[in-house]
Amino acid sequence: MSEMWINMGPQHPMTHGLWNLRVKIDGEMILDVDPEMGYLHRGIEKISEDRHYNEVITLMDRCCYVAGFAWEHLYIQSAEQALGLRPPERAEYLRVLCDEFQRIASHLMWYAAFVQDIGLMSPFLYGMRDRDLVLDLFQSYTGARMTYEYMRVGGVRNDVPPGFTDQARKVLDWLSDRFVEYDQLCLGSTIFRERCDDLGTLKANDCVAHGVTGPMLRAAGLKRDLRKDRPYAAYDRLEFDVAVADSADVTARYLVRMEEMRQSVRILRQVVDWLDRHPGPVLAERLPRWLGAPYAPIGNEGYLLKRHYAKGVGFSAVEEPHGEAQAYVVNDGGEHPYRVKFRSPVFANISAARQYLVGYHVADIPPIMGSVDVCVGEVDR
């Protein structure tokens, strides 16, 4: 067989989303790759310019659909900076609660997709099963499984219902047991190690040069986590470790994500305890109604009330499950943001695809791209 280009996508079981990986192969060897994005470009940045600050939250949930809370949090932080607001402390803890449960849910989704990529069939179902437990928790206080619209500029929409913390503890106990099972299924399997060791290696300096962040970067041994480096919300008051591994391959990324889930469980236990002890308001006081009202119906006079804030810009970053997401919100004093710019971690991680794919086999593409954890929604936005 001579050299040829094959299109893996937009409809391909490997992609887990809507993108196209063009691969130049010789036999089964990869000579070159060219990711082709944009099949899910929905113009979120443009639509945001046409929306009220709180209406953008709707788009954020759909921007990265496996980590809706993280993106809400990201946007909210920037918008609060741009508008000059601060949330109450309980809201900050609730945001951490959302973020960390979302991290677990997202990583479980990744786990389900990743093990399917290397041909393990059953753990897909196990991952989805356990993710549903986390989504049930989300549903109990936001009413939605994936698109929450829960965080508000100036706080969060509502408090968690009574009895939530007990339920959360039960789920956390269940999950910590399951993580052991997952490891047995994957790390305990010789075939898994044969497939994933020394695969898709991306060393730390290449990661930095190509803007790779998140679990991929930490798998290369760089201990970088915004939750530690630039703590936001309540992370400076919580104890946890940054998960790192040093072999920079697919196994390392697996280990990092698994450890991150364990650390998330650890954080969540603290958060749940704190929430039990410290009741309080969850939304900042003296917010204009169109900005802060928990259930402002679209179209009423309070919603349309124009309140001009001082001009300002907001820039913030959060450690999303996939890596480091940034948002830049420019407020020109109007009720809509003048410009919203998002930085998606997966965008950068995929842009480095040539670095970690070339030289491997076609059969290695699914595990490697699986270990990158592609969420096309946030890449294309």
Binding site: Q11, L18, L40, R42, I44, F124, R129, M146
Partner: protein, 206 residues
Amino acid sequence: MTTPTASVAPAKPPGPEGLRPEGPLPTVTQAAVPFIEIETLRAREFLPAAREALTSLIAEQGQTKVIRPVFNWAGRNSLFPLHWGLACCAIEFAAAFGGRWDAERFGVVPRSSPRQCDLMIVNGTVTWKVAHKLITLYEQMPEPKWVIAMGNCATGGGPFRTAYSVVPGVDKLVPVDVYIAGCPPRPEAMLDGILKLEQLIRERKE
């Protein structure tokens, strides 16, 4: 629920028009097999009449009573959706195949090749960039085929309706049989959509 089987009037032999005399015919019996109905015919009329009766019996009765119900049953109970994910709804699509909902109970098994599918579930926002690829995939699916627009984006563009790159509803591109509301629809809603489609197939006459 009226199935095609039930809605067809029984035991009405499709004899050729004009051959029957006025009044009730001296039929032997209205037996379970309506084929054996003896009419008073002259010899030269018998052969074409018999041929026509036989043809129409096989064509209509056999079709409606045996072939169509059987294939209809088969078709609606084994819908293979195309395995692809567009956006948010794809995650709920995947969740519907998880243990809690288990769409395989209804014989729904996703296949990766459009050649082996009969159902395209458009689970997410369709952009103009992917539009012609979606049409290609639809055309690659062999007949009979169905399309489910899952979620608000596929139904009408959803929150991104006004965006420059988004197709406001996948029905602008391919014919849609079932629309599922929700953003994203829960897995139950997706299963309900599939069951609605099964109902649609059951009531289908062709």
